[in-house]
């Protein structure tokens, strides 16, 4: 039964087989992701058709909209900047299998804490940007740390705690904005503008004649974050700990990794990156705070991270893609009167299918795990 191992074990051949297998499986991965997107688009097509609208016209607007004018392309890149930053932010706890949904609140806290500095403290150029950003990142780091500590040391479910914290923080934001930051006598609920030195110049400012809307130097945050999050997850010992916990928390603990500290810090590190998205909105896009400044970005960012399978090098691609859909959706709304619901349908289908995929992986992993337990049972 236990036949003797082959005398010569052809390592080179085996290595080639493994590489082929790996290539095949990454191709399958890519195929599945593309199929998900196509299926979602197809479903949207059917929905529009059922609504009695012209699906071809709608899709033309959706798929070419963002590129029909420079300003729209600028809008696309501006939205992508936000989504990529949030996508990178949530990818960190996700890699440790911590389902932190706190990005929305972390952005808001970062924006408001940064705004206090950026609006009221005149600072020289460059420093005028760096100091508010540092304050924002530190604040969101702490806000992220809270549910992280609760999960790690009290075993509080992170989905619940981050959602609750979001609700609290968003209301606090409204409160502070309405009663403290709104200048007396102003009719709209919004803050004063940030100091001129705290502004991130738009590319339209830098290159007069080039109309890229509000697409701005915040893109530097994106570049730095991609490199930073990649280094963190793939090249730093902390990232090794995160990934190992994500792969098997018991194993990580057995191996000597301080799992509690790592889990708590993974939430916090995500918070720090989410703050950058808030600061991009504050200093680059709007230059002031107003109610509901973050919109849906915290949630869309999660979709972006899932689409990229939490790989920091793929997040920019999925962020660009998703932003394209959102901006295209606005065009559809204007041209075909389908309403932004179309994009939401497509978005929902993508999330559903990805979740189903992730669930599938998860179930397979659980099954394999269960089988191994059965071995010893």
């Amino acid at each position: 039964m236990q036949s003797a191992a082959p005398i010569s074990f052809d390592r080179a051949a085996e290595r080639k087989a493994v590489q082929d297998e790996r290539r095949r499986s990454s191709l399958i991965d890519l195929g599945v992701t593309l199929a998900t997107i196509v299926a979602a688009l197809l479903l949207g097509f059917i929905v529009i058709w059922l609504l009695g609208k012209n699906p071809i016209q709608a899709y033309e607007a959706l798929l070419t909209g963002p590129l029909t004018r420079m300003g729209r392309a600028g809008r696309w890149l501006e939205v992508a900047t936000n989504l990529i930053l949030v996508g990178l932010s949530v990818a960190i706890p996700f890699r440790a299998r911590q389902f932190s949904l706190g990005a929305q609140g972390q952005m808001v806290v970062g924006a408001i804490m940064g705004a206090l500095v950026a609006i009221y403290l005149p600072l020289p150029p460059v420093i005028g940007v760096l100091v508010p950003v540092a304050v924002a990142m530190a604040s969101s780091f702490l806000l992220g740390l809270l549910p992280g500590l609760m999960k790690a040391y009290l075993n509080a479910n992170e989905i619940v705690s981050t959602l609750m914290l979001n609700a609290i923080v968003l209301r606090l934001y409204d409160f502070v904005l309405t009663y403290f930051l709104k200048p007396a006598g102003s009719s709209t609920t919004r803050s004063l503008p940030v100091q001129p030195t705290a502004r991130l110049a738009t590319f339209s400012d830098i290159f007069p004649g080039l109309d890229l809307g509000r697409f701005n130097l915040g893109v530097i945050f994106v570049v730095l974050s991609i490199v930073g999050v990649w280094l963190l997850l793939e090249r730093m010992p902390f990232g090794y700990a995160i990934r190992t916990i994500g792969a098997n928390e018991n194993f990580a603990r057995y191996g000597g990794i301080n799992t509690k500290r790592t889990i708590a810090l993974s939430f916090a590190a995500g918070g720090a990156v989410a703050a950058l998205a808030g600061m991009h909105l504050l200093m680059g896009v709007h230059n002031r705070l107003f109610l509901d400044i973050v919109g849906n970005i915290g949630w869309d960012g999660i979709t972006v991270a899932l689409l990229a399978r939490n790989n920091p090098l793929l997040v920019p691609i999925s962020g660009l893609f998703y932003a394209y859909l959102l901006v295209g959706g606005d065009r559809v709304e204007q041209q075909v009167q389908v309403g932004s619901e179309l994009v939401q349908v497509i978005q929902a289908v993508i999330i559903l299918m990805i979740t189903a995929q992730v669930l599938g992986d998860w179930i397979r992993a659980r099954r394999a795990h269960g089988r191994r337990i059965a071995d010893s049972g």
Partner: protein
Amino acid sequence: MNGGRARLGNCDHRCCEMNQPPVVEMRDIVKEYPNGVRANERVSFEVRPQEIHALVGENGAGKSTLMKILYGMERPTAGQIFVRGQPVTINTPHEAIALGIGMVHQNFMLVPSFTIAENVVLGNEPLRGGFLDYKAAVEVTRNLSERYGLVVDPEATVDAVPVGTRQRVEILKALYRGADVLILDEPTAVLTPQETTELFAAIRQLVGSGKTVIFISHKLREVKEISDRVSVMRNARMVNTVNTAEVDEEQIARMMVGREVFLKVDKPPMQSGRPVLQVRDLEYVSEAGVETLKRVSLNVCAGEILGIAGVEGNGQTELVEVITGLRPATAGRVILDGLDITRFSPRQVRQAGVAHIPEDRLTNGVALSASIAENLIVDRYEQPPFTRRGLMQPDEVARNAEALIEQYAIRAPDGTLPVGALSGGNMQKVVVARELSSRPKLLIAAQPTRGVDIGASEFMYEQLLQARSAGVAILLVSADLNEVMSLSDRIAVMKDGRLTAMFSDVSSLTEEEIGYYMLGVKHMPAEVIAANW
């Protein structure tokens, strides 16, 4: 034989009464898992109508797997199943239930907020006008409960009743679905002695009214008390099936722990040195308040193997996890080479020089989705050369993997392969390679050969003996008596969280002698144990 059985199945009733076929027969069942572990090796098993048939064996002997196959939760790799003489394939629990086979698991599968009646009928509810007929459900539950002596209040919610009652609900659920053959998976593990007595009364009544019960256990006293026949499994094989009346507990124990040919281990004489590990009066009380370690004291010296024998679940797991920092000691001290490591974190314990081959190494000794290379550095990834100036060095990580793959003959093309793609034996080698390459002072090996084939076992023995020759102190915890006896220089026995024996001279020891201590028939006085630390 096959043909004969087919004829039997087709013949009329009178003929069957004369030569009553077994209600369940499993023939030559083989179960091999994708990772190469064989949980059942040509197992044959036969249950007669209206008997209480005990299925015993140590953890990992394959009894749960065999029953999961019968209940349709696992598919056999080979072999046949007959129910009432008819060949059947059972792919799902639904199909098992349709054949009249029900199973009560160790972990109950009930809806806590539903009433007992609702739980009993769940999935097959009596309906009236498309809605649950609650009155009928209560009625049905009460009838079943009275008929089989399983006392429950049908209208109580499940989360309000004690464990013993929940178990009765599970049994009622199976009966409601028409189970004739009930598989009870270690039913007494969760029960108090009183509840156990009630359960046994209920089992007898069930059998009296025509049911058949398969009773999985490793508590021999209970097996002796309740069963008509007993089948013993060991190491994935069926050892024997005997009439319970004809054997005593010791004989069953001997079948369980085995008298296979002693493993041939070439053991050089011991070069024992200083005491490396000193455990003194170690106590552990679990979060649930159970005292699982009671004043355990022992020494392990450099270059010796101290074997800890014992039936699993007598505190061995806790002992290992307290020493390695995975659980906090409640009282007592653990000293490694003069350093008190009692309150150390797992990492500090490792850095003090302790390596640990865990008992559940295929689940917690590796991260399946991570690469071999990453698995090999979990205890040292932050140290040079793997991390320099705050950054990890992928080249060093890969080089380390290549060297260990070569040295330990791990069958993998390179270190980038996920560990989950390896066979069980090779996963084990990854664990051993990592733990031994940390150059430990103390190596703790828990159940080192459980679930692996002969070749992998031999590899493990070689490695342990090499480490011993190199002066490593080794604490070997194993439920396999052969293994403990052939490897150890000294042997301690654990029973109910205590050391009940400590033998300094293994040469004259017999398995029976150790078995008496394992099963609690004999105890050594504390002074004798202390004298042999």
